[in-house]
Amino acid sequence: MNNNLIVIVGAGPAGLSAAIQAAEAGAKVVLIDENQKPGGQLFKQIHKFFGSRAHKAGVRGVDIGRQLLEETESQGVEVHLGYPVYGVYPDGRVVYGSAEGVRSIQADRVILATGAIENNLCFEGSTLPGVMTAGAAQTMINEHRVLPGKNVVMIGSGNVGLIISYQLMQAGATVRALVEAAPAIGGYAVHAAKLKRSAVPIYLSHTVNRVWGDGKVEKVELIALDEHFNKIEGTEEVLDADTVCMAVGLTPMVELASLAGCRLTENGTLGGMVPLHDENMRTSNPIYYVAGDIAGVEEASTAIEEGRLAGIAAAESLGLSNEKTAEKKQAVRDNLAALRSGAFGQRRFLAKEEMVKEFYREAEV
């Protein structure tokens, strides 16, 4: 061994950022992703990002993706695309599928940046063509340039639901309704304001009751909810729509972390079961690091920072550090704290802080 080999699983914003930092520190880096194209969800993000200059604020996600890819290439990172990682062993062996069959590679450190998967809702008619996750609709319009339908009902008013509703309108669709079970809009008011300026009706304390049509979505029935989220009979309203999108949260993809023996914890704020990690993104298995949505569902900008931190720290743990390392890590942590400040970020900031405390409590046991 002693190749200082760091294998990164997932080439989204976290994985790419980790790869750049680890390679810059002097590690040999192999980046593996099951998709044919790198970038994770970044190339679907055609909107300008929030944050400060340090977070590339005001730059569209797709352009941030391009910048990260260029840096990854210039750092000499070995990138394997279209290779699904099937399994990992606690000792750092990573098993993946390739054109030549199943292969494995022994890593000194592994950074898991596998992201998260969209949640679904079940309702009468939810298996009809035309019902899809919001992310699927975004892939269709922004990557494949196919409009999934002309009249859309969006379920969920978090930033994902708000932003993708806006992008569907940019692609030429009409958003007939934005439906939210809670009594208030979940995401940023500025995103909601964009929809309102285009006269999108927002139905708070409502859900989709059922959907029907001849082999595809044609009618969507909404129903009001009481304060306990019970349906209120008699409040049904039927809309003409051909597409129903679900933006009802994401769940971290922790399967590989679980296989590697990383201790998991349940954290509702961060999206469910997540691998416990310390302030360096290191899990309870010291060979394994995590970054991005696998470590708690947040945003692409936080994923980039967590990836950078994991990349720097994983290299450091192999002895690849210098007098600048501590300073670099602190700068990343400051960036993360800034992104998790304010009314929206505070809960995630506290959840992450609690997670690090739990990591050390568990470590003592």
Partner: protein, 169 residues
Amino acid sequence: MKDVKYSGVLDQELLATLPGVPDAARLELGPVACIECAQEIPCNPCKEACPRGAITVEPGLTALPHLDSEKCNGCGLCIARCPGLSIFNVHKNYTETTSLVSFPYEYLPQPKVGDEVRCAGRDGLFLTMGTVHKVLSPAAYDHTTVVTVEVPKEFCMTVRTIQRGGFDK
């Protein structure tokens, strides 16, 4: 339930309390930015967009943007830089009877100068007809077009967009 979290629409009462929105006296004096940002989110590109240092976001990254309306000359450079598309520009006394209102517009088709357009408010509902005065989309705006419409003066603080496709193509 006037909070923006419930409707997605800022009402005049809340608007008047925002540190990025100029007061009535300043509107009389010439073009000025109107930063309709009402939530403490981590974001500050508007600060760097202003060549005159009229916009501050302090402390930290999440404070509401504050507009020094004496320094602001209504150049409009901040409009396309706001990722939330929540900055507008108002020139109330453009003529005796009309005002100019500028806003970001990222939909197709794009309007052309001279188009008669259906102007709408923060709720997207029709308010008045207006005329497209200017359409700017230089590379620096990165695909966020800034449209300026001329509208009757009484609509200068209510018109904030045009209805999608609401103009002669």
